[in-house]
């Protein structure tokens, strides 16, 4: 029984253990490394599935350990954790397979996969953290574990990207720490409790708690790429495609968005955030980010850079939904946590496939690629239409809940932001689709890669197609109770039921 309730710890350990084993394996042990990688991913997926079933039935999962008086390492799995865990566990499996295919024959794979597993272990910690202290530890660990991945290639550009990444995120971490210390000093509880726990304190000293709020949000907002803290994200796109997927979809920006959700839902509480007048300001910041990211994406000619700015924009949908105090709009924000992950990982996998198979990095090189690589291009099409929010893709479901929910709580201006974002997304994705499918190929590509019958190696292609189908399925089957939408509704029900 104790083993059952400690499942969050086991899920975390499965990745941590994999990281240790991989670090110990010699570089040449390719088969063993692959086995450990995939086995860890599958085991974790199973553990997460068990937790998912448990949480749905109302079981509670938790593990706590006193590190020092007052400092408790606490892992727990509630509905919100599981939204994030499930996303990252599922996507980790595909990213692992993809990374194995992507890094075929490249040096330093042992280092790469070691940090890769460490990164996911940290993400598990962030997702299952039961208090701000635990959250902070894993949040920082995530930063440190990602740095070697960003700089993996070792080129001057990659080193620069890594340096900038570190500068931004460590500064953010410092702000977060300062916020946590101030909160503790002011007598607030660090524990994550649905509905928040600082209500009375915040009423007594609104100024102090506003400062704490912005320190916390500012610290976490770096990873969530809130303008003007987003600068690291477009620079970090020099990393290999699987790392981009990790940054943009599975772990890093998601940890930021998730952290903001925790602060608003479980530290301050939706009511308190709104009562302090912080929600609308955060929402406005998110709105600016949404528009700014899209406008910048328009001007990019590099595929991954355009996708990076698109992430800046799309992740703020989550923040927007969380910041406006309303159940339906919160569903929109939460469900976009999953939807954005599925769609963006699809797009980055596609960018990686093009780069690896045809050496394509710029948008103007994509002419006619749909004929050479139809599956990849079809996956990209699904992802891009989702980003625009064309029904019945997942992006439409997010938009529907954000828009209707915002109107219900009297924030009609959100519609204007959503509309502008839709138009901008169409403006920077549709021309890409036209090139893919309708432009004449600019040059002859070899029909097949040596040694494969498909358009590219199957280790790259299969994960790409599956995540694209998941992104489509999340929209088409949104009505199912186990869809991301159904789960987000469950979370909000529990948050607002209090």
């Amino acid at each position: 029984m104790a083993l059952y309730t400690a499942l969050p710890l086991l899920a975390l350990m499965s990745s941590l253990l994999a990281a240790v084993v991989i670090f110990l394996l010699p570089e040449a042990a390719r088969r063993w490394r692959t086995l450990v990688n995939v086995a860890a991913a599958v085991v974790k997926l199973i553990l997460v599935a068990v937790m998912l079933a448990g949480v749905m039935q109302g079981h509670e999962f938790g593990f706590a350990m006193m590190l020092a008086p007052g400092l408790e390492l606490r892992l727990q799995a509630d509905a919100l954790s599981l939204l994030f865990i499930t996303l990252s566990a599922v996507l980790w499996l595909f990213t692992t397979v993809y990374a194995i295919g992507y890094l075929e024959n490249s040096p330093n794979r042992g280092r790469f996969f070691g940090y890769f597993s460490l990164c996911v272990a940290a993400t598990m910690g962030v997702a299952t953290a039961g208090n701000l202290f635990t959250f902070f530890i894993f949040y920082e660990l995530l930063t440190l574990a990602t740095y070697p991945l960003v700089t993996h290639r070792g080129t001057p550009e990659a080193m620069r990207g890594g340096r900038i990444y570190l500068a931004y995120t460590l500064a953010g971490g410092a702000a977060l720490l300062a916020g946590i210390i101030l909160l503790e000093n002011a007598g607030g509880s660090l524990a994550f409790i649905a509905g928040g726990s600082v209500e009375q304190l915040a009423v007594d000293d609104p100024a102090l708690f506003s400062i704490i709020f912005w320190l916390l949000i500012g610290g976490i907002g770096v990873k969530a790429a809130l303008v003007p803290l987003h600068g690291w994200l477009p620079v970090a796109m020099v990393a290999p495609a699987p790392v981009s997927a990790l940054l943009h979809a599975v772990a890093v920006v998601k940890a930021g968005a998730f952290g903001i959700t925790r602060i608003v839902f479980d530290v301050f509480g939706v009511q308190t955030t709104d009562a302090l007048g912080l929600g609308p300001v955060l929402a406005a910041l998110a709105a600016v980010t949404i528009l700014y990211g899209s406008v910048r994406a328009l001007a990019q000619t590099d595929i991954k850079r355009r996708l990076a700015f698109s992430t800046v924009s799309q992740v703020s949908y989550i923040t927007l939904g969380i910041a406006l105090a309303g159940p339906v709009v919160a569903v929109g924000g939460l469900v976009h946590l999953v939807h954005q992950g599925l769609m963006k990982i699809t797009l980055f996998f596609c960018a990686g496939n093009w780069a690896e198979t045809l050496g394509i990095h710029r948008i103007d090189q994509l002419d006619g690629v749909g004929q050479r690589m139809p599956w990849t291009s079809a996956a990209f099409t699904l992802g891009a239409l989702g980003m625009i929010g064309v029904p019945p893709t997942a992006g439409f479901i997010s938009k529907w809940y954000l828009g209707t929910g915002a109107l219900q709580v009297g924030h009609g201006w959100v519609i204007a932001v959503l509309v502008a974002s839709t138009v901008l997304n169409a403006a920077y994705f549709l021309p890409v689709l036209r090139r893919l499918w309708f432009a004449p190929p600019s040059r002859d590509w070899e029909e097949r890669l040596p040694g494969t019958r498909a358009e590219t190696t199957l280790a790259l292609l299969i994960p790409t197609v599956i995540v694209a189908l998941l992104a489509l399925g999340a929209g088409v089957l949104a009505g199912l109770s186990l869809s991301p939408l159904g789960w987000a509704e469950l979370i909000v029900l529990r948050e607002y039921a209090r």
Binding site: V235, L291, R296, W400, L407, W413, I415, V423, G475, G479
Partner: protein, 559 residues
């Protein structure tokens, strides 16, 4: 069951083509049949609820959908047969069929969907898939038409999205009827009405939102032109009928505006069509003009709930008649036989309203409806205006027959006979379906149209037009029509946009701006920040303007 087949079969075939390229030949022989379940749905009716799809999909056959389903079933089948002949065994066929089938699926969904999200989903699928049909030939002209089409389509989608979100905020994913009733009592009823009307008006080609239509419809391959002009424009009508409040609340105040927009479209498009040099473009303008008449009927229907109920069968009958006849005319453009002119004349004169043709029945029903339902002022003016529009329409179609009587080039495709089969089906349907439909549904209306007085009032505009046309033809060397480009207003609009984009390129104007105003500021920033994101300041002027606009909107809305 029929509803599942009607939407599912095209979708499955399209997916099969996408996933298994080798299936091309087999699917191509099945694809023309994919529209037949629509006829089954029209006859048998039915209802389908799929709660787990999207936000709860609800399909059902409403009374006003039946004529539309008949139209779609016949015309998509005819177009499918024509397309099969044209693309038989060619490599481009697969791409064509994928978009053909996806558009068909979306089209079926639009006619059947009964929930907000479902309608929007089907509408989007149809709109985006039809882009593939418009640009199928991949010529510069086709790509330009596609660009204009897409820009207008996205603008329309966005307007509809706003309306749907406003309705969804109150009702969730509500049934259309409930949403339409809610618009009437909504505090922002006029805004919602404007959004819904304008959003669907783009598809209907209501002036001045018609500019994409004379570009896009003629550029598509012949079978696609037929469904675009014949059925897909009617999706706009079905949107209006589904979502506009049935003559309630502030809708009545919109009646006159909509009537006038309809009249402007009917007359201006016919006049613009006369200046066209290509037969297909002229047909596209004729579609704008005829849809103007449907818009006019809608306008009369908006005036009261009773008028709305009376309008439904009349407007859909008109759409049925026009769709079949226009489809037959477009399909004729792909036929290479010398005698095609004679059969074209039948469909063309039906649109002009020749007595005993489908057009005469549709127009008689429209006239009777206007006599009964229109407010006094309009009831006095409209019959005369309608007769005048018949004169113009007849002139337009005479010019079309003159331009297109003989095939200019041999039809593409290996088996010309099969082209004829699809075309003949459309011609036959355009002659028979409307009278049979009336005979079954409204015998009184059929008898009314056959009264001598009605026959005469349908005939004299044609005779007048024949005289005018003959005179114009005799004097053509002296008067000479002006030649206007297809898409009329889009040409100056493109020029303005082109000028703007050539002068406002991102990165072109900004170095100066930075040099003048931001250099000092920039120098004071640490060297480091310049490294961090070298192009941080390179937001285009357009982007800044957009953000400024968004902020102003935000500010206004907050106030």
């Amino acid at each position: 069951m029929m509803l599942l087949l009607a939407t599912g079969v095209p979708l499955l075939l399209a997916l099969l083509l996408l996933v298994v390229p080798q299936s091309g030949r087999g699917v191509a022989s099945l694809a023309p049949l994919a529209a037949l379940p629509l006829l089954g749905a029209a006859i048998l009716g039915g209802e389908l609820r799929l709660d787990s799809l999207v936000l709860g999909l609800h399909l059902s056959v409403t009374a006003q959908a039946v004529p539309m389903l008949l139209l779609a079933g016949v015309l998509w089948t005819a177009a499918g047969i024509a397309a099969r002949a044209r693309f038989n065994g060619t490599g481009e066929g697969r791409r064509y069929w994928i978009f053909h089938l996806l558009t068909l699926c979306g089209n079926a969904g639009v006619f059947l969907a009964q929930d907000l999200a479902g309608l929007y989903t089907a509408y989007a699928l149809m709109t985006f898939a039809a882009y593939g049909l418009v640009i199928h030939d991949l010529t510069d002209a086709a790509l330009r038409a596609g660009r204009v089409y897409l820009v207008m389509a996205i603008a329309a989608e966005v307007l509809l999205l706003c309306a749907l979100l406003m309705l969804g905020a109150r009702l969730g994913n509500a049934p259309l009827a409930e949403a339409a009733a809610t618009i009437a009592t909504h505090p922002q009823a006029n805004l919602l009405l404007a959004l819904v009307f304008t959003g669907f008006a783009v598809k209907m080609g209501t002036m001045p939102l018609h500019v994409w239509l004379p570009l896009a419809h003629p550029q598509a391959p012949v079978p696609a032109s037929a469904v675009l002009s014949g059925v897909i424009v009617k999706a706009g009508l079905m949107g209006w009928l589904g979502l506009l409040p049935p003559g309630e609340g502030p809708a009545a105040q919109w009646s006159s505006v909509v009537i006038m927009l309809g009249l402007i479209s009917a007359f201006a498009a016919a006049a613009l069509g006369l200046t066209q040099q290509r037969a297909k473009s002229l047909l596209a303008y004729s579609t704008v003009s005829q849809m103007g008449l449907v818009t006019l009927l809608l306008g009369v229907g908006l005036s009261s709930p009773e008028a709305w109920q009376a309008m439904l069968p009349v407007a859909t009958l008109f759409a049925l008649h026009h769709g079949l006849a226009k489809g037959a005319l477009f399909l004729a453009m792909g036929v290479g036989v010398a005698w095609r002119g004679w059969l074209m004349a039948i469909a063309a004169l039906a649109i002009a309203g020749l007595p005993l043709s489908s057009g005469a029945f549709a127009k008689a029903a429209a006239k009777a409806f206007i006599d009964n339902a229109a407010t006094e002022a309009w009831a006095v003016m409209l019959p005369g205006l309608l007769a005048l529009s018949s004169v113009l329409t007849t002139l337009l179609l005479l010019r079309f027959l003159w331009l297109a009587w003989r095939p200019a080039e041999p039809a593409r495709g290996s088996t010309a006979n099969a082209v004829n089969a699809g075309w003949l089906l459309a011609v036959g349907a355009s002659v028979l379906v409307v009278p049979v439909w009336l005979w079954l549904q409204a015998p009184a209306s059929l008898a009314y149209a056959l009264q001598p007085g009605q026959l005469w009032s349908a005939l004299w505009p044609l005779l007048l037009a024949a005289v005018v046309g003959a005179a114009g033809f005799a004097l053509r060397a002296r008067i000479g029509l002006p030649v206007l480009p297809e898409g009329d207003l889009v040409v100056p609009a493109e020029r303005v946009l082109g000028w703007l984009s050539s002068h406002q390129r991102p990165y072109r104007s900004l170095p100066q701006l930075r040099g003048v105003t931001l250099r000092g500021l920039h120098a004071t920033l640490s060297r480091r920040s310049r490294h961090i994101e070298r192009r941080h300041l390179d937001v285009s002027i357009g982007g800044m303007l957009l953000m400024a606009v968004a902020l102003v909107i935000t500010w206004l809305l907050v106030l």
